[in-house]
Symmetry: C2
């Protein structure tokens, strides 16, 4: 498998936005598309160039992980945010966006090992395709290349990256200790997703503000926006894992139920249920090997509680929080696009 820039852009921006955020770019903002498409292509180019390993198998596994038709949420948000604070070319953020995308990919590769995930985005996971040793090493390698890319930035930026990675690790551990445990409170669930998903988006967006030389209030606002978009995105993700279309998602449903990861929707449903149904829910959720009828029964019990619509509403509320955080940014089309993307994160259907 060779790596050429022309391979890198697999998906045009319109499709990325649609796939990622469940919304097209509004007609009024379509003028922004060509430059942002070019930004994403440049980020992909830098990312590809970072994965030059002498050893074909490592390069292949790392490239496979990065080329899984991913949503590229972080690079897109970073590119739009950079232009929203006045950036006219993506150059200053190219290496950083590539670094954050590599970190994200590294954690997905390791997560799939931990979660025994067979599939990721409609293809075998790295662990499945290349084996566990290669998946562990490829994840490490992606982390390392990410930090090499980050090394060209000031120490404060490298530390933002580092802290977000530490949060990721902590979120993963906290999630591990909550497995198959419905007594995990909602508060703890939010701590998990803030650390596992939102911290890295927050760090990526705040870094964009810092690199652009923005004052602290803008940097913090971008960080807050990133965090809120991350939470909205994850809440929607959890909902899609139970109610989405597996063909559109590129992976089977019910991964969270199978792995015993409590989510807002299951915690909420569990809190609402009473008597025999609550005991049944608890029993089924705790099963280490769930059969298809167990999973469908868990969904059926969840439906009746109204938990799905409340989780959807929570996602929308976090999207609004993201939009509100942007208020201190100058108005303009990229600002508007960030708002569109935040709302899309909470409403996308895949």
């Amino acid at each position: 498998m060779t790596t050429t820039p022309s391979d890198a852009v697999e998906v045009p921006l319109e499709a990325v936005v649609t796939r990622t955020f469940g919304t097209g770019v509004p007609e009024s903002l379509s003028v922004l598309v060509p430059a942002l498409t070019a930004d994403l292509a440049e980020i992909d180019f830098v990312l590809d160039r970072a994965l030059t390993s002498t050893y074909p198998r490592l390069r292949e596994a790392a490239t496979y992980a990065c080329r899984s038709g991913g949503k590229r949420v972080r690079p897109l948000l970073m590119a739009v945010a950079h232009r929203a604070v006045g950036g006219t070319t993506a150059r200053p953020i190219l290496a950083l966006a590539a670094a954050f995308q590599l970190i994200h990919t590294a954690t997905l590769v390791h997560d799939d090992v931990i979660d025994h995930a067979e599939q990721r985005r409609g293809r075998p996971s790295v662990a499945r395709a290349f084996g566990l040793p290669a998946a562990i090493v490829a994840g490490d390698y992606l982390f390392v290349r990410a930090f090499e890319l980050a090394a060209e930035y000031p120490r404060s930026i490298i530390l933002r990256c580092g802290e977000a990675c530490a949060d990721l690790a902590e979120g993963e551990i906290l999630q591990e200790t909550s497995r198959f445990d419905l007594t995990t409170g909602v508060e703890r669930y939010f701590r998990v997703i803030e650390m596992k998903t939102a911290a890295i988006v927050s760090a990526a967006l705040a870094s964009v503000g810092e690199i652009a030389g923005m004052k602290p209030s803008i940097v913090d606002a971008l960080g807050e926006y990133g965090k809120a978009v991350g939470v909205a995105f994850q809440l929607r993700d959890d909902l899609l894992d139970m109610y989405g279309d597996p063909d559109l998602l590129g992976k089977p449903l019910f991964a969270d139920l199978r792995e015993g990861n409590p989510t807002l929707v299951t915690l909420d449903a569990y809190a609402q249920l009473t008597g025999e149904e609550k005991r049944e829910f608890e029993h089924l959720f705790a099963l280490r090997r769930k059969q298809p009828h167990d999973l469908l029964r868990l969904r059926q019990l969840t439906d009746a509680t109204g938990a799905p619509s409340r989780t959807g509403a929570a996602a929308t509320a976090w999207a609004s929080r993201a939009v509100n955080a942007l208020a201190v940014l100058p108005p303009g089309p990229h600002h508007t696009l960030l708002e569109v993307l935040a709302r899309g994160a909470a409403e996308r259907s895949y």
Copy 2:
């Protein structure tokens, strides 16, 4: 488990040197011990401080990994080298030595997952004690903290760290692809250990020279010394895995044979054997589950070829290469101690 500086220094320098390098500090150099002991204590302190996680389980797993009574080869070599090039306090290298030790520990944690190792230094491995998910995440976390520590150095140093980590990953993958395969050439075996073991020692030592402001010839000499010591150390390690005392080593013998990792000693033995014995060696080596009598038979077949003493001689030759690389350094007691340590690496019995 709380982390206090006083916990950190578990083993006095004399014992570290003896354990690591199979040699005591010669009487003539004993005057160096107090300052170097203090250097190691300071490095441990910085390392401990870096492992402050909000989540007890992650901190516990990371601390457990770092506190396994490890040999601390890298910090010791860095501290001695730093003083050999004129350093009077360890301050300039504290964070970097801690970073390299964390990287090393991270790779051990992930290696033990990959190799299904139950034990490490007389205790259950992290994967065994905390489970596979925690081991993967703790390894990631140690990498991240290492790069945060490295962030206080110039970009060139961070890139040295990064390249060494990439080499490590590549070495691991190359080793994976050679598993259970005795047709792996000796050349390829050396590539594996140069990347898996020697590259990080080389980068650590070269970084010390660079931080001390040495000219490129000294920096390169230290890097060459580090590489050669790393190779000598690994050759001795491979030999001890077949011929060492498991009680002294803190782990069962024959890990390489069980995991199917070819080493110089097995490759050499295989090359020497002929006829029926060669076929038997090949057959036994390829077994995915070897019984104790298989392992002992492999060792018996190896003995008769003289491969062990040739591997020992190769380790000694690499130690000499390390000593020779130091020739450009100014003479002095720390220079002499580096020579003692190189020779010890090739001769230690545990």
